[in-house]
Symmetry: D2
Subunit: 363 residues, 4 copies
Amino acid sequence: MSHNTFGHLFRITTWGESHGPALGCVVDGCPAGIALTEADIQPWLDKRAPGQSRHVTQRREPDQVRILSGVFQDERLPQQVTTGAPISLMIENMDQRSKDYSDIRDSWRPGHADYTYDAKYGVRDYRGGGRSSARETAARVAGGAVARKVLGEAVTIRGALVQIGPRAIDRSRWDWDEVARNDFFCPDAQTAALWAEDMDAVRRDGSSVGALVEVVVRGVPAGWGAPVYGKLDQDMASAMISINAAKGVEIGAGMAAAALRGEDAADEMVLGPDGRPAFTSNFNGGVLGGISTGQDLVIRVAIKPTSSIRIERRTLNRDLEETAIATKGRHDPCVGIRAVPVAEAMAALVLADHKLRAEAYRG
Amino acid sequence: MSHNTFGHLFRITTWGESHGPALGCVVDGCPAGIALTEADIQPWLDKRAPGQSRHVTQRREPDQVRILSGVFQDERLPQQVTTGAPISLMIENMDQRSKDYSDIRDSWRPGHADYTYDAKYGVRDYRGGGRSSARETAARVAGGAVARKVLGEAVTIRGALVQIGPRAIDRSRWDWDEVARNDFFCPDAQTAALWAEDMDAVRRDGSSVGALVEVVVRGVPAGWGAPVYGKLDQDMASAMISINAAKGVEIGAGMAAAALRGEDAADEMVLGPDGRPAFTSNFNGGVLGGISTGQDLVIRVAIKPTSSIRIERRTLNRDLEETAIATKGRHDPCVGIRAVPVAEAMAALVLADHKLRAEAYRG
Amino acid sequence: MSHNTFGHLFRITTWGESHGPALGCVVDGCPAGIALTEADIQPWLDKRAPGQSRHVTQRREPDQVRILSGVFQDERLPQQVTTGAPISLMIENMDQRSKDYSDIRDSWRPGHADYTYDAKYGVRDYRGGGRSSARETAARVAGGAVARKVLGEAVTIRGALVQIGPRAIDRSRWDWDEVARNDFFCPDAQTAALWAEDMDAVRRDGSSVGALVEVVVRGVPAGWGAPVYGKLDQDMASAMISINAAKGVEIGAGMAAAALRGEDAADEMVLGPDGRPAFTSNFNGGVLGGISTGQDLVIRVAIKPTSSIRIERRTLNRDLEETAIATKGRHDPCVGIRAVPVAEAMAALVLADHKLRAEAYRG
Amino acid sequence: MSHNTFGHLFRITTWGESHGPALGCVVDGCPAGIALTEADIQPWLDKRAPGQSRHVTQRREPDQVRILSGVFQDERLPQQVTTGAPISLMIENMDQRSKDYSDIRDSWRPGHADYTYDAKYGVRDYRGGGRSSARETAARVAGGAVARKVLGEAVTIRGALVQIGPRAIDRSRWDWDEVARNDFFCPDAQTAALWAEDMDAVRRDGSSVGALVEVVVRGVPAGWGAPVYGKLDQDMASAMISINAAKGVEIGAGMAAAALRGEDAADEMVLGPDGRPAFTSNFNGGVLGGISTGQDLVIRVAIKPTSSIRIERRTLNRDLEETAIATKGRHDPCVGIRAVPVAEAMAALVLADHKLRAEAYRG
């Protein structure tokens, strides 16, 4: 059963609500002997943290991570390392303002999980969205940072935003170095500038907008994954759709594969300059039959617009009376921006798991 | 670990290769007391079976299913019912012509899993694609038929083909009754006629083409699914991407969600004519926060063009020499057509599992 | 994969080392709407806590539990309840004296997991036994307290010590009320008095002694459990052997079943005074074919003597040199005493899980 | 969820009833490239098969196994090998005499799972015990044969019967070679002779008797297993108690550990003649902290007397009327005898799984 656990051999169990005392993540199945301190995790949390530009929520969530277990150092070890025991990561919640929640307590916010949580559980922690809050993704990012350490230097996981609302980047201008330079993880500087204008308008309108995240993984050797129901791309799809607000996922050509013809879509094989198998294209996104080809893994995930908007929408209250609701307070006008480090983390978690699964059968 | 098992409480384990003596499926976790005979399963297999029109492969696979365990009837029971024990379903392979496989034994077919299986396993049953053959999906369909019995009459799962190659249906002409009348599971008669022409051209060219499958599920009550990593849409995405040749999956608005604004994407709630909660739209495809809303579930999956084409493509052989390969024999020019009953079956499997998971917490 | 998670639908993931900052437990799969505060958990931890008599370790571990997530209360709810979200329980470690660990750092203590951890992981947190410390069982007890709330009043789980060293209780004097009155969870006052003398001698010798724990569960209805590999007694056996120092487990007649004849061992069925099925004996310990009969569940687990003793034993150091080691410091001379609440907790965890599994198929 | 699946990375899913058309086993997670034919499996089934002496049931079950998937051979491969795909094993049921089952249809046989199956499922395949029949163990033995191939020559798994009824072997006469020479898998020839007399008396009385099986595994390296909830001995206990009629399991000293003192129970470490770590005793049965020590694994399992006896016992029928029942037909007077190869198979399954799990973390 999945519940709040993701992964098989390498896995995380996350816990915590938006406005509880803390949230966290137990990383289980991490190999022993891997150097790990909080400094390996914190930068990824900082990348996800709000308040870094005017385009994301202005909440204050410093998101300082603490490692509570699973690491060890003594005078004989040059650095702190994992021991193979579960690694408990905790982030205390700092910005828990006492607020008036009567609005969202009694009414179901459209596009949110309010109604479905009530339908399923009968009780709901509505403060800041409770368990359905995007704050849970901080725990994913923390776990993903450990996964990156398991993967090591050979595997590079990079995410970028390739579309905000109707405006997509120009792929001919893709520059990975640009991603860190703008407020949008955008690999195309010109589009980033236009997005800044777009976003100002969206915020002014009290609205929000969707986005498209792309994750590219380099360095996965051929042979990770498994056929049928243990497919690498299947686990990637599962990981990506599990992210809050995700509505679609693509591997390689993705939905566009429907429009292709066989002679175009088949990634032909040739001998690479290093004398190893190479491909003339990557419509399959680095996966064939559920198993990695050694090419870049290419995954895209569509994030819907933030449901918390200042524009009033119709809804019902818990007494089944029609009413209307508008969200106050500080919200991301494009939650897709901060989904970039989350999608990277999910990719790392899937790959660390599949790395170990591949090791089990290395023979 | 997943390997060849799909599902948690209700689950299937499939086995078998394209050209082995048989293939099958063990359905485990089926409740007791459900009426079940081979006649409940066979029609769904027949729907998936090849040879039903000129647009699909002309192989002969009668796909007769046998129930080997898990059912019982005596003179006191009016009909054969499940006992709660595992239900073993077996389909014998009939059309195993002895062929010359030296081509695909030595060379990796582009777009197929040949290279990745060799990379992972070192050995490969290349006869008809072995385990990576679409024949494995017959076992899914058989298992899905049992899942439908678990779901009962209240839940209706229907699939349709909404795009072949670049040509999409006109949604204003959607007619579910039409789906059974043409060779394409197409809900739009006019488009079906055009597809017939398109497909004749594709076959003439020795090529193949992609397609888009849409599955719509009616009757799922609000409250199935679970947050975070047990999401209903997450399991749907996992199920759909696990289908051979699938490259993308969408829930509700899907990839188009990226282009939306918050006020458009939020499915507003109103009081329905029956005095129960209703929605003014369904951009979320019937799932919010991983839990069903009671609306129709809407899932789309993109199927890439069949990689087996008569047009020669470049590739490598196992000695890493550059060569070329063209596929001979009888292949589906659009494997997406027969993916429709497979996608329906996967949806049924996910829902039967989530129904039981919901029951566990009904309290 | 199990790793540090126990259970399926209802499950715990524990983390933490003996001398780290904290230890804890994530309870996942708990139904919503169950009243739960720290006061429901603390008494069970207190029962397990050391320092309560001269017969257990004199370490100071107040073991104050905090609930960090998964519960909620507002002005409309009469009490704090579970929300269905994961319940994170944390216990801070208080008594972490800075000590000289060079002895156990370099040498493998006989009977402990030192050598095997080194063989498996290459690195070992030796402070207080690290992850292999019995402190981990505090997390089990905390999780078990939540499991008891899931089971409710109808199910009563009681444990007792029935043997210390070679001296067993007289079962004809069994009195459940006596269990809370002595230092040994002993249901036989006379034996408890003798044990006190035995234990004084053992402590004087710097030795330790084994014990036998019996858990009796009343109120489980007929029909919990599952055949073949989901057996209730199988999960009980797994749960009990997972307790530190456990070497054997018995269901009902247990090992003595080997000596029985069929006509004696078959628990005959008769009509009970309430007109319901009853049994004339309980050699099967309340389980037939892996499924509960409605009788008391009876489980026994043998706990070996504490391996930490003041008597010097031969061993090797990490340089593979022969040496000798004696344990200093405060240790339980009979770890079996404090295993009683742990075994109760494990029984509760198994039963909460099987209750939910049974619900899933209630139909 | 376990249901009918056992294991994690290496696992089996078994199916089939006593009197259905067939029973079988899907072995999933078997590494590729392992030589495997039916000849590797059949001898273990023959060892378990009934009818081999007057001391076991005289039913005729030739138990011919067929491999339906997961293996491959072509002209380039010197022998048939596994491909990494699921291995489907099927055994057809031959001896399905049409019988009058009205007795066991309407009444619950004491000591059998009849009542509990009815309580759980409401419907029951009573023919020959249905799913609860010991015939299911043929599937375990078939799966265990594959597990042995995964373990290879380095690991030796041997089982023996060490007690029948009240009579135990004399361990000073233990001779592994003797096990194959008598009808009881008994390592002590003198005791075997006495058992033959005992059994003749038991059969004459129409009764049955319990037994004690011991499994000894040589060649497991130090470091297999995992702490806390993934313990090697925990999985062994789970495996053994899952065998029909098992009521207790012991690791090393087992239940007797309760009576020991610390200085006796600690297996001291010394330098072995090969310069590697060795132990002076094996009270821990080859496992410390859930991880193998490199010593022999020693596991014992108690099997209760066969519940099917000719002596009439009281019971209830489904109308809750008191009645009596005696079993007719051919039954094992000591089901413990044929449990020996089953216990060996379960040990093999646990070890193949843990071998792969250890590989995953070999680093």
